[in-house]
């Protein structure tokens, strides 16, 4: 069983990440992958020039590793990978790549869903939406918090 978390300060390449993940399979019958992409519009509907992801070197990596380890404990998956951008991300560029592998598909779907909900509320990043002449820090919304709570009940 292998869980991997990585911070990526440069361009994230989901196709290359997925190829490498598939090459490392060992007897699995299912792989689920997810790509989070920077939206071109902000929370107020206006156009964005970029998204900035602030992070705490060391602590941020540890927070993502803890989330991956939790997914490995919780679901019958053989592998999990999270690659998360930091720094400036342009509109349409990938922010996060998640992949999970298991013998049967259900556990991979559940684990990928769980990983994303946890990353939204527990990974140590701070997001700033940047547009011409303004910048706004974004905090998790009610939807993010309720998505996270689903896993405490199950």
């Amino acid at each position: 069983m292998t869980g991997t978390a990585r911070l990526e300060p440069r361009q994230l390449e989901p196709d290359a990440e997925l190829r490498a993940f598939l090459a490392g399979l060992d007897g699995d019958g299912a792989v689920v992958s997810f790509v989070g992409v920077a939206r071109p519009t902000g929370s107020d509907g206006g156009s964005l020039t970029s998204l900035y992801l602030d992070h705490y070197p060391g602590a941020t990596e540890a927070s993502v590793e803890a989330i991956v380890a939790d997914a490995m404990r919780r679901f019958e998956i053989s592998r999990a990978l999270v690659v998360h951008r930091c720094g400036a991300v342009g509109p349409g560029e990938p922010i996060v790549f998640v992949a999970t592998a298991s013998r049967h598909r259900r556990e991979s779907f559940l684990a990928a869903d769980f990983l994303m909900d946890r990353l939204k509320t527990d990974a140590m990043f701070w997001k700033r939406e940047e547009a011409a002449g303004r910048a706004v820090w974004i905090e998790p919304g009610a939807r993010d918090r309720s998505d996270r709570l689903r896993w405490d009940r199950s």
């Binding site: 602030d54 705490y56 927070s63 922010i95 990353l119 509320t121 990974a123 701070w126 820090w137 905090e139």
Partner: protein, 82 residues
């Protein structure tokens, strides 16, 4: 001397890094919070939020956690990844 790191919107308000000279017996996180809040206009309101949490040497801390010289402290607003 101890280093206080500030992230997200707190970094914009206070600067990424603030050096603080601690008293001989150290300070609690609550003491440090009060000290930092005097450094910028409106600092009290920015830091005196239950949503602003702290770490000492990268481990989550409570208001009563003691901080000694040479330790690394971080204050940060709610996190948001993904």
């Amino acid at each position: 001397m101890t280093t206080v790191l500030l992230f997200g919107r707190l970094g914009e308000c206070f600067g990424r890094e603030v050096a603080v000279v601690l008293p001989r017996d150290g300070w609690t996180i609550a003491d440090l919070r009060r000290h930092l809040s005097t450094l910028v206009p409106g600092g009290e309101e920015i830091l005196d939020s239950v949503k602003v949490r702290a770490c000492v040497d990268q481990v989550m801390a409570e208001e009563g956690t003691m901080v000694g010289s040479g330790q690394e402290v971080a204050f940060f607003p709610p996190v948001s990844g993904g």
